[in-house]
Symmetry: C2
Subunit: 198 residues, 2 copies
């Protein structure tokens, strides 16, 4: 009696989330280069998930091709230079859909450096702490604005409604981060015994 080989097409073929994210980019129907995939990731994914190195994207593409979930062909760009473009395969679409609906979803992973620094606040001066949290507030504000910009660009005409919903979520998320930093600043000021900053 022959044991069925592990990883037959029954189960959703365990790939790292990053691979599914890359495949997700391909699922929008373009035929991007690795480089363009990265730009897409920078454009929207970075606000809620991901900002991988180029080399990582190429590695995931290789993995996806090996799994039969993506194919590549050499395309000739407008300037005549050859470039390698990728597309999702029917198998890849099936696997991605299966993953999207069936794979268990872990809790969001958060590594909040600024919060870690405040937690160790007894080791740094109050000035420095204020600086750290102020930076965080400003960064969150900037990210909220960038996410909003990204949302407006992405929405026009594309009709990818879910992408827009997530973009709206991302804008609100970074606004919340900004407000949270502001509140923490107030708490720090209260601790330092001064009613007003500066």
């Amino acid at each position: 009696m022959v044991k069925p080989s592990p990883r037959s097409r029954a189960e959703p073929a365990t790939l790292p989330a990053t691979a599914w994210a890359v495949l997700g980019v391909l699922s929008f129907g373009e035929e991007p280069t690795g480089y363009e995939i990265r730009k897409w990731a920078e454009h929207i994914l970075r606000f809620f998930y991901w900002s991988p190195a180029m080399s990582q994207i190429y590695a995931e593409l290789k993995r996806l091709e090996k799994a039969g979930y993506a194919t590549s062909r050499t395309d000739v760009a407008a300037d005549g230079r050859p470039r390698r473009v990728y597309a999702i395969t029917p198998d890849g679409r099936d696997a991605l859909a299966a993953w999207a609906s069936d794979a268990p979803i872990g809790p969001p992973v958060l590594k909040h450096g600024p919060a870690l620094r405040v937690w160790l606040g007894h080791l740094a001066g109050p000035e420095r702490l204020r600086e750290v949290v102020t930076e965080q507030r400003d960064r969150a504000q900037r990210l909220a604005e960038e996410a909003e910009h990204s949302r407006r660009v992405a929405v026009t005409g594309t009709g990818w409604a879910h992408a827009e919903i997530v973009a709206r979520w991302a804008v609100r998320y970074h606004e919340a981060e900004r407000d949270l930093a502001e509140l923490m600043l107030a708490d720090l000021d209260e601790l330092a015994g001064r009613g007003a900053p500066g």
Copy 2:
């Protein structure tokens, strides 16, 4: 002319953030075992930074000892069993303080699985999507409550004001996550063209 050896005591000795977090636990002055360090991490750190495997903690402790930032001794517990307890050294305290005030702080790292799933919403049914986001909302609510509980326990009598400020931040953060999920749920319902859920 002899080049100064790299990593002399001038610069803050580049360790992974996890190592600093472990050293941070030691900086609160107890003499915990590796096991107890993990409990502490579970108690509060997990809400904003970290939830490492036991093996990782032991690895970091080894690294810290090698760097001269921590020492260990064999302590005899109440039941007579020997256990290895760790303490921060003066060098470790200096290095940690230097890190806390000087090391550059990167942006918070976020990998939001639920958001990634919604982004790929065109591949899953609306029911499933609702399920995912509802789970996320409930989890965030649970975490907010746990963080609040943790805050109350931590605060009483200890006088670690910064730890309390971060605990408050963590409570608010997870409440915000809960509200964000709720809003996304509303957006999803609107997309599905139904004014009321169910």
